[in-house]
């Protein structure tokens, strides 16, 4: 059975429809990337998966159980954690407190402060500082660590590389194998197609709220991706 199965996911902002029936799967242990231009609906899709945006009950299943329509705070408990766009760290909490609040849902699993500090040693060194005083890359590590503390089956990452230097992006993605080894599948939204091709087992391309292409990075041609990405 697939870990995550989405069938006909839609999303609305008032009268504006952002998603027109997305079908998407994530298998156990897979890394799946979603690519697409600005406004293609990638972030709306992650927001819908994480419960910030309303969804029909049967449009999303995790391990065969319906996830759609649950409030965000209960979806975390079911094992879906999100690294939101722009990181959204809590400014009045220290690094360590940001990580601890990630464990608020109390889901059991492999992750602990020690294990996180082993994955991202710099966070251990700076655990007492205010989260917003860290560099952009370090803040992204906190955001990932915070999500991992809920021991997710599925980790959603929205634009991990946005606004970061290439060398920092490399560091961040270097953590991916460790995360998968601990038992999380990963769904990343990435604007950088090259980066997505590198890390993903499979990828989906979104265009104007629909899936325009799906496949394994090796099977897809540049022309196919370009057409799916830009629609031209």
């Amino acid at each position: 059975m697939s870990l995550l199965v989405c069938q006909g996911v839609t999303a609305f902002y008032g009268d504006f429809q952002a998603l027109y029936g997305i079908d998407l799967r994530v298998e156990e242990g897979e890394t799946v990337a979603i690519i697409g231009s600005n406004g293609a609906g990638k972030s709306s899709f992650l927001r819908t998966l994480s419960g910030l945006q309303a969804a029909a009950r049967d449009s999303i299943h995790l391990d065969g159980l319906p996830l759609g329509g649950l409030p965000a705070h209960r979806i975390v408990g079911r094992g879906v954690a999100m690294v939101p766009e722009g990181r959204r760290l809590f400014p009045s909490l220290s690094v360590e407190e940001n990580l601890l609040i990630g464990a608020y849902s109390g889901r059991p699993g492999p992750w602990s402060l020690e294990r996180l500090y082993a994955l991202f040693p710099i966070l251990g060194e700076r655990r007492k500082s205010a989260a917003t005083l860290l560099s952009g890359g370090q803040q992204q590590m906190v955001a990932i660590g915070r999500a991992l503390m809920s021991n997710p089956r599925l980790l959603l990452c929205d634009e991990l590389s946005l606004g970061l230097a290439p060398v920092v992006i490399k560091d961040i993605y270097a953590a991916l194998p460790g995360i998968k080894a601990a038992g999380s599948s990963v769904l990343v939204v990435e604007q950088d197609v090259g980066q997505a091709m590198k890390v993903a087992d499979r990828l989906y391309c979104f265009q104007e709220g629909r899936v325009s292409l799906e496949g394994r990075p090796g099977d897809l041609s540049r022309e196919q991706i370009s057409l799916a990405y830009f629609g031209i």
């Binding site: 419960g51 910030l52 705070h73 975390v76 959204r88 009045s92 407190e97 609040i101 608020y104 809920s150």
Partner: protein
């Protein structure tokens, strides 16, 4: 000289009571970003419930706190969960006007049930007991107790916010309510808990007020204003600032009262306006938003 020293001490200790009123207000603003306009009315409500329980049963007012505090706390939880949460959002008008409406309802309910007469809680000899500090200077035992309770409440809140998972959740929900949900925090529940704590503190403040002074059903708004002034003087986001704000307000009122009986409250308001002109962010501000 001793006379003025006594006045200053009275004002300082009055600050303890004001700080109790201010803490609840600061808490609900700090976590939910809303002002409960009926804050003072809820304190008066708690006090009248205490009076209604104490008089027929002949209980000690301090014992009654054990009943009133959890009662108001539970009431606060339900109020936030069932009604006030629905009013939260970008627009500040709904929470303000809904709580304003509650204020009017509470005042008039109390008028119907207790008439407009002033009432108070009798604590016996303790109410007038005082400790001599040498010379002609003395401080009342009751105001000292109130101040001690105010300090204890603030210390407790500081511990709650700094060292407990609930405190972290309060701060997280206040920073970014959406990101907090992504952590598994149920904001509706967290807000209701914050209101429960605020109301529990309001209950303490109300009961102490009724022990110290006569209260009438329409006294709530004045209490809201003092609490508000203490919060602004102290500076938003500063827990101990509310105590400093309460003390400054209390001292200003005591000095004003000494100069002319009609000028006590006015002097407090003027001190507040003066702080607003000189230090718009309050004396110990941590956050700039207001």
């Amino acid at each position: 000289m001793a006379e003025w020293l006594n006045t200053l001490l009275q004002g300082l200790l009055l600050g303890g009571l004001y700080s109790l009123f201010a803490t609840g207000l600061a808490l609900s603003f700090g976590v939910m970003r809303m002002i409960n306009i009926a804050h003072g009315d809820f304190a008066i409500l708690a006090a009248f419930v205490a009076i209604a329980v104490v008089e027929p049963l002949g209980l000690n007012p301090f014992v009654v706190l054990l009943l009133i505090v959890p009662l108001m706390g539970g009431f606060g939880y339900l109020l936030q969960r069932l009604i006030l949460n629905r009013t939260l959002g970008q627009d500040i008008l709904p929470p303000l006007l809904v709580t304003f409406g509650f204020g009017i309802i509470i005042q008039n309910l109390l008028l119907v049930m207790f008439s407009a007469d002033t009432r108070s809680l009798d604590i016996g000899a303790l109410g007038t007991a005082s400790v001599a500090l040498g010379g002609d200077v003395a401080v009342g035992v009751l105001p000292l107790i109130v101040m001690a309770v105010a300090v204890a409440v603030l210390a407790g809140l500081q511990w709650l916010f700094a060292a407990t998972p609930l405190g972290r959740a309060f701060r997280a929900a206040s920073d970014d309510s959406e990101a907090a949900q992504l952590m598994g925090i149920d904001n509706r529940h967290i807000y209701a808990l914050a209101m429960a704590i605020a109301m529990a503190i309001v209950a303490i403040a109300g009961v102490f007020l009724a022990i110290r002074a006569n209260i009438a059903p329409t006294d709530g708004p004045a209490r809201l204003l003092y609490a508000f002034e203490a919060v602004i003087i102290g500076g938003l986001g500063s827990l101990w600032g509310t105590l400093a704000g309460g003390i400054i307000l209390g001292v200003a009122q005591a000095i004003g009262l000494k100069a002319d009986p009609g000028w006590g409250i006015l002097a407090g308001h003027l001190a507040f306006l003066a702080v607003l002109v000189i230090r718009p962010n309050g004396l110990f501000a941590r956050t700039r938003e207001r």
